[in-house]
């Protein structure tokens, strides 16, 4: 188990390093010069050259990569060229907000998506199943920003229950979390349903039923445990999706998080900030995947036994 863990962690570090290089390469290839954009309409050529030198952008790609990694290892992820503040401070301000939103989204996903899928799978063909399937299909199809605006229109403008956007209290958190979770709830419910249905067709379920166990007990004790692996996988992927979905949700609800920081960095060609945000996003994603992989060992003894 420990060897497995170390291997997985080492592989994760490798992925982060490769990702950092890829980001730098892509930024190098896309048109749009950060210095020209920063200095605006009236910059002289001398000013452009000087600032490029100050930012180290006159160095070749590989040199910049090695310098960047070396600094990151020392704990310095650079200074935003556009926001004129350390990247660590900007991320430090924004990351807790995104984490909070994502956590609430995950919580809602589990709270609604899992029971919805279970009921739907256990009572397949019933009106409960049909209505939950239609609901989740709708959740998958509606774009996040649209759901956000509709919720805002109903619950903020018409009913006045929740604030329109921004942060401050737990009330601020409700609408963005629901918006963010809508897609994940739907996709987790669908996955749970199909995974459960698959297991329900197995021989041992028939045996359990044959020995006289109640249907409910069969679903909960025998089927659910065995259906869990694909569910956990999808849930892990949904966490990444939630973080990505945060970009749109944060924009609609004026939520000061990582998604908006990243989009701003892309539009302004703010290399250090973009590198930093992607580094954090990717690390989270890799970390969650690691957790998912490790949880297989707990759910299914066959995985850790290998």
């Amino acid at each position: 188990m420990i060897v497995y863990l170390i291997k997985r962690i080492l592989a994760s570090v490798g992925v982060v390093l490769a990702m950092a290089f890829l980001v730098m390469l892509i930024l190098d290839l896309v048109p749009g010069d950060p210095v020209v954009i920063m200095l605006g309409e009236n910059a002289t050529e001398d000013m452009v050259r000087e600032l490029r030198r100050q930012l180290g952008l006159d160095q070749p790609l590989l040199v910049r990569y090695v310098q960047y990694i070396w600094k990151v290892v020392q704990g310095d992820i650079g200074r935003s060229v556009r926001e004129m503040a350390p990247v660590s401070k900007l991320i430090g301000d924004a990351f807790p907000n995104t984490l909070l939103l994502t956590a609430c989204g995950m919580f809602l996903t589990l709270l609604i998506g899992l029971p919805l899928g279970l009921i739907s799978g256990a009572k397949s063909g019933s009106w409960l199943d049909h209505s939950s399937r239609i609901t989740s299909l709708a959740g998958l199809c509606m774009p996040v920003f649209w759901i956000g605006l509709v919720l805002m229109f109903i619950f903020s403008l018409k009913l006045g229950w929740f604030p329109v956007g921004g942060t401050g209290s737990w009330l601020h958190l409700i609408l963005p979390s629901v918006t963010l979770a809508s897609y994940s709830v739907a996709s987790l419910a669908r996955m749970t349903r199909s995974s459960l249905l698959e297991v329900m067709g197995e021989d041992y379920i028939r045996t359990a039923r044959a020995k006289g166990l109640a249907y409910r007990a069969v679903v909960v004790r025998h089927a659910f445990g065995n259906a869990l692996i694909p569910i956990v996988t999808v849930f892990g992927m949904q966490v990444g999706h939630l973080m990505g979905g945060a970009i749109l949700t944060e924009t609609v609800f004026a939520w000061p998080g990582m998604g908006r920081l990243m989009v701003g960095a892309i539009l302004d060609r703010d290399y250090p900030l973009l590198q930093g945000t992607i580094l954090v996003f990717a690390s989270c994603y890799i970390f969650i995947n690691l957790l998912v992989d490790l949880s297989y060992g707990l759910i299914d003894p066959q995985v850790s036994g290998k």
């Binding site: 896309v30 048109p31 749009g32 010069d33 020209v36 954009i37 200095l39 605006g40 309409e41 009236n42 910059a43 002289t44 050529e45 001398d46 000013m47 452009v48 000087e50 600032l51 100050q54 200074r79 556009r82 926001e83 004129m84 503040a85 900007l90 301000d93 924004a94 920003f145 956000g148 605006l149 805002m152 229109f153 903020s156 403008l157 006045g160 604030p163 329109v164 956007g165 921004g166 942060t167 924009t251 609609v252 609800f253 004026a254 000061p256 998080g257 908006r260 920081l261 701003g264 539009l267 302004d268 060609r269």
Partner: protein, 526 residues
């Protein structure tokens, strides 16, 4: 009897209703104003950051030596008087007894510190100030602002909000983080900044002049336009900046809100590359100008959120002259077609596209997307209008950062481009010199048309080096006449600065210059 009674009732009602509201209206003090806007500031350092989201905030915190009123006159601010010593040197006499928000005394040293800082950093401020050389201290409360060469717009440049004087103590103390802790002499003080959420400023109780009425102003970031307008309706914000054009009619009808608008400084235009055939031909440019229905674009695409341009400059700019473009090149696709025929372009093979000597009339158009309101829609509409007269236009869009970089390069492989331009210091030199002097080809300046005319060069040089306002005005008028006839641009719209305001907020008006929003005279009715 009846009439007498009703007069009495009406009179009583008037007393009961109006007198208290008069008393209330006269108490202007206090209150918190929340402004909703699409983007957060990048920095509040006036020497390095000059775009609107930052400038709107810090222009209430710092003050320049002089300011420019809405009709272009220079009025005193931190300097109570100025004197033109020579065309390259202007002397400013500073007010005494003023302190920065951190207690540092305001004096000649602080002015020099600010100017030195702006000049020594490779930042936007310097680029906006043309040939600025520096600031010379004459005595403790007298300074000279000096330029490398005689420079007519010096006063206009000194009056820019970016040229506000900052506290040297604060700048030294915070170093690179000064942009998050700005300190000036203005009517408001910086309080806090939560990145991408809000910036708060509070009234400066020790202000040297008339103090502000508001206790506090919050600049709240709400990126999504629909959400911003909803926040205004729910009362989460009191003012919405950059409102959605389609929602304006509803707000105009609503008695709870006021739509305040001013003709802005930004001109959005379609420009022609004058060295790349076939747009090197003046007749073709004129014909293309006549084929664009500017009024149709304003009515249908911009839905009243902008106004018809009167020239290459906005009317609020010093040196502006109405170019009469609607009379010079009235929208008439038949005449446009006839003009192209004069130049030899006819549809001989019947494919709907004009041709000449076996070559089709094809143009390459570098469009602009998501930079100015409705820019991409405008480019597409213009493309369609040209197609109607038989011109084949291939329109390409890139993301703004890429488009901007392409426009800054020495060569441009497009006949047509779309740009917006603000005369930031409100002096015609700022725009006309950078865009039409033959010495200003990209990347040095912004002569993206690659237009060369020795006569225009001479007039621009003369107007630039003079401090005589009447002389300068006459030269700019002549230049604008020449340019209009050359049909280098098709100005599409003149921006409108629009705010939707909750009616309890009084005294707030947008400024023609999108970079400032004076908050000192604003109060909230209780």
């Amino acid at each position: 009897m009846k009439t007498r009674l009703s007069i009495f009732v009406a009179a009583t009602l008037m007393v009961v209703l109006i007198v208290p509201s008069l008393i209330l209206a006269s108490s202007k003090g206090g209150g918190r104003l929340i402004i909703g806007r699409p983007s957060d500031a990048i920095s509040l350092d006036s020497n390095t950051e000059t775009t609107a989201p930052g400038a709107i905030v810090y222009s209430n915190i710092i003050e320049p030596l002089v300011s420019m009123d809405k009709v272009g006159n220079i009025t005193p601010l931190l300097a109570h008087e100025y004197k033109i010593i020579s065309p390259d040197r202007i002397r400013f006499f500073l007010r005494k007894g003023i302190k920065f928000h951190d207690g540092t005394p305001f004096n000649a040293k602080a002015v020099k510190y600010t100017y030195d800082r702006g000049i020594n950093e490779p930042a936007r401020w310097k680029a906006l100030f043309g040939p600025i050389k520096g600031c010379d201290i004459v005595d403790d409360f007298t300074v000279d602002i000096v330029t490398e060469v005689p420079y007519g717009p010096t006063l206009a440049s000194v009056a820019m909000c970016y040229t506000g004087i900052i506290s040297p103590t604060a700048a030294e103390k915070y170093g690179k983080d000064y942009g998050r802790n700005p300190v000036g002499t203005g009517p408001f003080k910086f309080k806090e900044w939560k990145t991408k959420a809000h910036i708060t400023i509070v009234r400066n109780e020790d202000y040297w002049g008339d103090k502000a009425y508001l206790d506090e102003v919050v600049f709240k970031v709400i990126p999504e336009a629909g959400a911003r307008m909803m926040a205004l309706r729910t009362g989460d914000i009191d003012v919405a900046m950059q409102p959605t054009p389609s929602e304006l009619p509803a707000f105009r009808k609503d008695p709870k809100f006021a739509v305040a608008e001013t003709m802005g400084m930004r001109i959005i235009y379609i420009g022609f590359h004058t060295e790349l055939p076939p747009t090197d031909n003046q007749k073709i440019r004129q014909a293309l100008s006549m084929a664009v229905d500017v009024k149709g674009i304003l009515d249908n695409i911009l839905e009243g959120s902008a106004v018809a341009p009167q020239g290459y400059l906005a009317p609020a700019v010093f040196g502006f002259k109405d170019m009469d473009l609607q009379k010079r090149f009235p929208y008439d696709s038949k005449k446009a077609k006839a003009k192209l025929a004069e130049a030899g372009w006819k549809d001989t093979d019947g494919d709907g596209i004009l041709d000449k000597d076996g070559k089709k009339l094809s143009l390459k158009f570098l469009g602009t997307k998501a930079r100015y309101p409705m820019d991409a829609e405008i480019c597409e509409a213009v493309q369609a209008m040209w197609k109607q007269i038989g011109v084949d236009v291939s329109l390409e869009f890139f993301e703004w950062a890429a488009t901007f970089t392409m426009l800054r390069k020495p060569t441009l492989d497009y006949n047509i481009f779309c740009l917006g331009w603000v005369t930031t210091n409100r002096d015609a030199d700022y725009s006309l010199y950078a865009m039409f002097h033959s010495d200003q080809f990209s990347p040095k300046g912004w002569n993206r048309n690659r237009y060369v005319n020795p006569e225009v060069d001479k007039l621009l040089d003369e107007a630039r080096s003079s401090q005589n306002r009447e002389e300068r005005k006459a030269r700019y008028a002549k230049i604008q006449d020449i340019l209009a006839d050359m049909a280098l641009w098709i100005p599409i719209y003149n921006s409108k600065e629009i705010l939707v305001i909750n009616k309890k907020v009084k005294g707030l008006m947008p400024d023609p210059l999108e970079y400032i929003l004076p908050l000192k005279p604003v109060w909230i009715e209780k």
